[in-house]
Symmetry: none
Subunit: 401 residues, 2 copies
């Protein structure tokens, strides 16, 4: 069920302000059974006060048991069914480095690899060549020239880079050229439908010219392509919710995801305090504010329980500044759980709170996984959070008479 | 997911009796944060006893954040996916005044309007002409005669009336003739598909003849048409559940909704006590009884917290009479929340209880929003209530081997 089928017809505009504060990977696990999670361990007086005034619950990013990446995790929070709307790997990689895809672009994740004298792959990752070395090599591929095609080559990290093809009539249904094994040559790019034939031909010509350029490289003398993907077609916040939306993020991936749903990037924040300053200075300009906080996820990914606790406390400290702006609807959630205990994204429901004047408060008095289990939002699919936000902001009329 | 896909195949018949008592707009909000809702404030010893014996939960009428009208609210309670099954505005208006639509009918909501000497709309609602004046004018339009078409004109209220066209080969995909502004003439009825051309032609002929009849009216000298709609095609309770179902309602809208799913109207009750008498006297004749209580909604709509509390207490007082009949499954719920605090339908989950000998009781000891949050039914979509009822009535066999 796509919530936009209804929200498109039902939304109304008013002066309300909605803030969605996303602590990436917020949900956690105890370090040992029976203990407290990161969020339950952290001293969070301001989040606890919000939980007391508001309504809590556990957000299920995709469905039970599924650990999402950043793409589906955020799409769900933004109200876009993460099963229906998929962002191809190439498009996500381009988005993640801040490349602004245009309609019709096809983006591809590329790996440098090492080819032996017979053209067979001897190392699929070119010895995990360091970024300092690989970035200029990737940039050297900008010399590739194909008639009628605009080509962008952007370094990512180590052996990884992104190529974007821009030309009329491209589609992204092209097989990977990575054979997923050594001792064989890279595959040719093959289209799986007529609409993608031109893309495959361009990719093969790119590979041919790149081979010339890379010939003398000791490690990165070959390349493979994976995850051909068109720019995803997502309706905008304005179209489906009638909201003018701002994104206040530090990292390119989250800026990119926000831009895909039509949010405007505001500020040049590098720190959480600067993000809050951006919120304050743009408060009058937008209806909806997405604030992304990265470090609950990265510390979780590092398996660093104590540091994740500290990052949650840092987040708690900025809540009063947001409160001062008096948002009509305030949401604190995450795109998924990243328990330090697992050092990875997980499927566990994400602690979520929503505060509004009409939210029907529950019994929760602290913000944490256990209290969210018995909260008034129950365990709900993340994709419904935006319709809840609109309801609480009185931004939807009745469905049916 | 349409529950009927399974219930059609799985239902079995037995002698059990199911009562669904719908307190319209039952769910509420505290008057101020931290306070009690209407239902929590009301003294409801009999409902509390049911909650203690039964299992509680919060019913989500459509999906989180969506406030439904009576149509989708009731369809969901009846187990009909309120997204899949939509009742067009014209059909709902006809249903609401007790007009029994036949298959193939097209119903239209009409407004009297005032036209100036140039035929331009000067008042879209004919000065909200009082019902006493408008009803005979609407009835005068019964003089319209079109070959091969049966035409029904029914007054509603103030400037509103309903027209139903009955003829072979009609469809309802016709644009509104209301231009939604003054200073312009009403639009002609235009079909959006071939199947609806005949309807549009009939509507235009109706409008032409009506103009003659209305010519001398000071205010209501024109009309606009909105919400052309066919009778919705809903499978019946007998087909999808194997239930013979009775509806005991006072207001035409709820009688009409019940009739659309094949319930039989019983009794002529004007009061709740008379409704209970109807239940008693028809107890042996049906498997399922839908009892509709309106005043929890109307007092909520009025913003009258104290009066809504009193209406809930009135409802509580009839529970012993229902208990005496020993229903196998007893459900108390609402089609949506209507918090007096909002004086409007809302999206908040609706307190719901279900009692049967096999319902797996939870910890709830009173019937109220807070206890429902942690009840054994959890927060569930209303459309699943009927399959729960059937399960508790042992009226379904196992799914799969």
């Amino acid at each position: 069920m796509d919530i936009h089928e209804l929200t498109r017809d039902l939304f109304v505009k008013n002066d309300s302000k909605i803030v969605m504060l996303v602590a990436d990977g917020l949900g956690g696990l105890p370090q040992s059974p029976g203990g407290k999670t990161e969020l339950e361990t952290a001293a969070t007086p301001h989040l606890d006060a919000l939980a007391t005034r508001g309504v809590c619950g556990g957000s299920i990013p995709v469905f039970p048991g599924i650990a999402p990446g950043s793409g589906p995790g955020h799409l769900a929070l933004f109200g876009y069914d993460p099963i229906k709307y998929r962002i191809g790997r190439g498009a996500l990689e381009a988005t993640g480095i801040g490349f602004e895809l245009a309609d019709g672009d096809v983006a591809v994740r590329c790996n440098f690899c090492t080819l032996d004298e017979n053209g067979l792959i001897s190392d699929r990752r070119a010895g995990r060549i360091p970024t300092e070395q690989s970035a200029p090599i990737a940039e050297s591929l900008r010399a590739v020239s194909i008639d009628g095609v605009e080509i962008f080559v952007e370094p990512v990290k180590e052996h990884r880079f992104v190529v974007v093809f821009r030309a009329p009539g491209l589609a992204g249904n092209v097989d990977d050229t990575d054979p997923q094994q050594t001792g064989v040559p890279p595959l040719a790019a093959q289209a799986n439908d007529d609409a993608s034939r031109k893309t495959a031909a361009i990719a093969n010509e790119f590979i041919r010219q790149a081979a010339e350029i890379l010939r003398e490289q000791p490690a990165a003398n070959g390349l493979t392509m994976r995850g051909f993907a068109e720019k995803p077609k997502l309706p905008t916040y304005d179209e489906v919710y009638g909201l003018s939306a701002a994104a206040i993020a530090v990292y390119p991936m989250y800026k990119g995801l926000a831009r895909l749903v039509g949010m405007q990037l505001v500020g040049q924040a590098k720190t959480l305090d600067e993000q809050i300053e951006a919120l304050q200075s743009h408060w009058d300009d937008f209806d909806f504010f997405f604030i992304h906080f990265k470090y609950t996820d990265s510390t979780g990914e590092d398996g660093n329980f104590d540091e994740k606790v500290k990052q949650i406390e840092r987040l708690d400290a900025v809540i009063p500044a947001i409160n001062q702006l008096r948002p009509d609807v305030m949401i604190v959630t995450g795109d998924h759980s990243t328990p330090a205990h697992l050092a990875a994204h997980s499927w566990h429901p994400v602690p979520t709170l929503l505060v509004s004047d009409v939210c029907r408060t529950d019994a929760a008095t602290t913000f944490g996984e256990q209290q969210c289990v018995t909260g008034g939002l129950g365990q709900f699919e993340a994709k419904y959070l935006m319709s809840l936000a609109l309801g609480n902001a009185k931004r939807m009329t009745k469905y049916g008479a």
